[in-house]
């Protein structure tokens, strides 16, 4: 397990190194002068000069990369081009909202999707299974932003049951929870379908294994066979999916954050790309990637802990 851990962490560090390189290349791959692009067409020559000096754009590219990579290693992601605030502080103000949204979105999807998948697997080809199948494929097929807009139109604009925009009053938990419902619903709905289909398929496969037949033959209660033996094995691919899913949700929260005007890493990235505020873009991309890699790593470690065959595979 120790060597597995070292290998996986090593791989993750290599991926992050690549992302650092790509984040740096971002600024230089866009046609035109980076300072003019960042500051807009009517920025004065003095402002452009100040920006060039501050961003070390007058240095050779290799040296700029070394400065950037060195700063990243020390946790210095630079400063916002306009407000001069540290990028780490700006990301710190937003990351909590994204994590909360991701957790709420995937959380309710897990709570609904896994039991749905179990129910469908227990009565294959029944009316319930068919209904779950149609529902699952339906929620997977409809893009999340469409669900977001429709839910906003229905629950916020027409019925006025739930708030349409914002993250709620700071320090007011019920208000913040109320503001979380619609974006989490839109974000998680597709995952209900994914999870229920995955659990159903895995569970059906496991239910045909000899040891499950043996358990049934011993006369164990169906609940004990499913939750005590079958689901423990069938859940493994679902854990991988959840790990990948949470990492993916972090980077795909952008649509929910933009449509519901919530703060968060996705919206920050979207705004900063529009404003060509590259230090913040680079920092947000790095942190988002780091989060994704961390969640995938965590899910891999959990799988390896549960299943020794996986440890030996790497």
């Amino acid at each position: 397990m120790f060597f597995y851990l070292i290998k996986r962490i090593g791989l993750s560090v290599a991926v992050i190194g690549l992302v650092v390189l790509m984040s740096f290349a971002l600024l230089h791959l866009i046609p035109g002068d980076p300072a003019t692009i960042a500051l807009g067409p009517r920025a004065s020559a003095e402002t452009i000069d100040r920006f060039t000096e501050k961003m070390h754009l007058d240095e050779p590219v290799w040296r700029q990369f070394l400065i950037f990579a060195g700063n990243v290693v020390t946790g210095d992601l630079g400063e916002d081009v306009f407000s001069n605030r540290p990028v780490t502080q700006i990301i710190g103000e937003n990351i909590g909202f994204t994590l909360a949204l991701g957790a709420a979105g995937l959380g309710w999807a897990i709570l609904v999707g896994i039991p749905l998948g179990c129910l469908a697997a227990l009565r294959p080809n029944s009316a319930l299974d068919r209904a779950t199948g149609i529902l699952s494929v339906g929620t997977i097929a409809v893009p999340s932003f469409v669900i977001a807009i429709w839910s906003l139109l229905l629950f916020a604009v027409t019925l006025r049951w739930l708030p349409a925009i914002g993250a709620g009053e700071p320090g007011n938990l019920p208000d913040q929870l109320a503001h979380l419902i619609l974006p989490a619903f839109a974000l998680g709905l597709g995952w209900v379908g994914y999870l229920s289909r995955m659990v159903r398929a895995s569970l059906l496969e496991v239910m045909n294994e000899d040891y499950i037949r043996a358990a049934n033959a011993f006369g164990l209660r169906p609940g004990r066979v499913i939750f005590g033996y079958a689901l423990r094995v069938a859940i493994l691919p679902t854990i991988t999916l959840i790990g990948l899913g949470f990492g993916g949700l972090i980077s795909s929260t952008v649509f929910a954050e933009v449509i519901f005007a919530r703060p968060g890493l996705g919206k920050l990235l979207y705004d900063m790309v529009s404003a060509r505020n590259f230090p913040v873009v680079q920092g947000a991309v790095l942190v988002t990637t780091g989060l994704y890699i961390t969640f995938v790593l965590l899910s891999d470690l959990i799988i390896a802990w549960l299943d020794p065959r996986v440890r030996d595979a790497l």
């Binding site: 708030p163 349409a164 925009i165 700071p170 703060p263």
Partner: protein, 516 residues
């Protein structure tokens, strides 16, 4: 008894469900509880409140609530002029280069920085000459302080629009010298000291709150407090307005068209101003467009009415020049061309041109692409094949700039839109000879135009100024390098009973809102 059949599990499930039912209305109630006060929208965080280094937009709105200004916009019947603010008892031109002012009594800076003085005015305006917005203060020589509250703004040359353009905009904000100096000479996300009806608090990424200033002795604004939510997407803001979570928000051309036919219940629309001018430009030095007759043929071939209907749902004013509606020098018609495909074909034949192929570049935005496609169809009808090339911001804004390389040599036609200030001089400055290869991408020079530009700035007589700017637009049109398209409005939808106050360029001034 039913209770006897209830298991522990069903009891727990039942009470949880009941609890949730009780909580849901509470959650919604809590969500609605924050709706007290005026609720508005801005697109992004205010990152630089310092007038010398601001980006503009909502930062100007914040300055207007928290800082003193000597003058403010006065808009009546679509005409833009200025008037002194509450902060002054006197503001007037004593001669073309001198503006005398007297600050009102009792103006006090927050955080214990004492009274607002004429020295603060001197500090604020003279420091602007060394900032990113120095262009607004080119005409300023210095400010003479003649007393604690009195002084004279001295210009180095007669500059008729100084009060309207420079002092009414965010650039005209007065800062507390002591507080700004202590803050290191400039500031970003917070005001070092304020003097206005509201205090400013920002929650980054979420909102800006304007709360009552306890030290303010001036006229109380209609709204006790203002919450300005950050809603990046205009369409999301429109939905938030329809959901009753905003009292006012800006709307684009397509939403304006939709709301005009079916407005949200209890809402009204206000057009703030039309200080944007859009045209199709042609590079007069490009070999394919060097012949004036070819350019004139293109002018005659474009059906601007179709563009306004097709790309802008008839929500924008047709343009006849660079001077926008409500400003001195606005033209009512073109002089040398109108939509006439027959004439266009004749001009092309006269020029001996056939099978002409041109490239039309535009920003990659929906309305611009629609505009380009209509132009493409119009020109195809007279035998000109146009390739539409959408480009992104970074590339677009460098296309005609000589300092960005030789790309300008290949530039043929493009769709351009500029914003301007409420005085005609600003729009004309980009087309003088010095601007060739900078912002005059059409690349023509005209000595008369250059002279008229200088005359227009210095001229105090309104009738004479108007004649100057009308003539300047005639000259531009005669180059054949322009097809005037439209003036896009800055429009707001707001609750009935809320009368909004905006600058001609669209910035809201919350303190001047009226609430019935």
């Amino acid at each position: 008894m039913a209770l006897r059949n209830t298991s522990r599990r069903t009891f727990l499930a039942g009470t949880t469900a009941a609890g949730a039912l009780i909580l849901v209305p509470d959650l919604i109630g809590q969500a609605r509880a924050q709706t007290a006060g005026l609720r508005l929208r801005m697109e992004r965080d205010n990152e630089i409140l310092d007038p010398g280094y601001m980006v503009g937009g909502s930062e100007v709105s914040a300055q207007k609530q928290c800082l003193p200004f000597l003058a403010e916009y006065d808009m009546k019947d679509g005409e833009v002029s200025w008037r002194p603010t509450y902060y002054v008892t006197r503001l007037e031109h004593t001669d073309p280069t001198h503006i005398a002012f007297e600050l009102a009594e009792g103006l006090v800076w927050s955080k214990g920085y004492g009274p607002v003085t004429a020295a603060d005015v001197k500090f604020s305006y003279e420091r602007m000459k060394g900032t990113d917005w120095s262009g607004y203060f080119d005409a300023l020589d210095h400010v003479e302080v003649t007393g604690d509250r009195t002084g004279t703004i001295v210009l180095n040359t007669p500059f008729a629009p100084f009060i309207l353009v420079t002092l009414c905009h965010g650039t005209g904000a007065v800062l507390c010298e002591k507080a700004v100096t202590e803050a290191g000479g400039k500031f970003t996300t917070d005001f070092p000291a304020t003097c206005g009806p509201y205090l400013y608090e920002a929650v980054p990424g979420q909102r800006a709150n304007f709360v009552p200033n306890p030290d303010w002795a001036g006229p109380k604004p209609a709204a006790e407090s203002v919450v300005v939510q950050i809603v990046g997407e205009e369409k999301a803001a429109n939905l938030a307005f329809e959901a009753g979570e905003l009292d006012c928000t800006d709307i684009g051309a397509d939403t304006l068209a939709r709301y005009r036919t079916s407005p949200p219940e209890g809402s009204e629309i206000t057009i703030a101003g039309e200080l944007r001018y859009m045209w199709m430009g042609m590079n007069t030095e490009h070999p394919k467009l060097q012949d004036l007759k070819v350019r004139q043929a293109i002018q005659h071939a474009v059906d601007v009415d179709s563009i306004i209907a097709g790309a802008y749902s008839n929500t924008t004013s047709k343009s006849f020049g660079i001077i926008c509606p409500g400003l001195l020098g606005k033209r009512d018609a073109t002089k040398s061309y109108s939509y006439d495909p027959e004439k266009a074909r004749a001009l092309l034949a006269e020029a001996g041109v056939s099978g002409l192929e041109l490239t039309l570049k535009t920003l990659n935005a929906q309305d611009r692409l629609l505009t380009a496609q209509i132009i493409q169809a119009n020109l195809a009808a007279v035998g000109i094949t146009v390739t539409v090339l959408p480009v992104d911001d970074g590339t677009f804004w460098e296309m005609g700039m000589e300092e960005s390389g030789d790309g300008w040599k290949d530039l043929e036609m493009w769709i351009m839109q500029f914003y301007t200030t409420p005085d005609p001089y600003e729009a004309t400055q980009w087309f003088v000879s010095d601007q060739v290869g900078v912002w005059n991408w059409e690349r023509w020079k005209n000595e008369e135009f250059d002279k008229l530009y200088a005359d227009g700035i210095a001229e105090q007589d309104l009738a004479k100024r108007e004649a100057i700017y009308l003539r300047m637009q005639d000259i531009m049109e005669e180059t054949g390098a322009y097809v005037w398209i439209n003036h896009e409005p800055t429009a707001y939808v707001h609750r009935k009973g809320v009368t909004i106050s905006t600058a001609p360029s669209g910035e809201l001034d919350y303190r001047r809102f009226e609430i019935a």
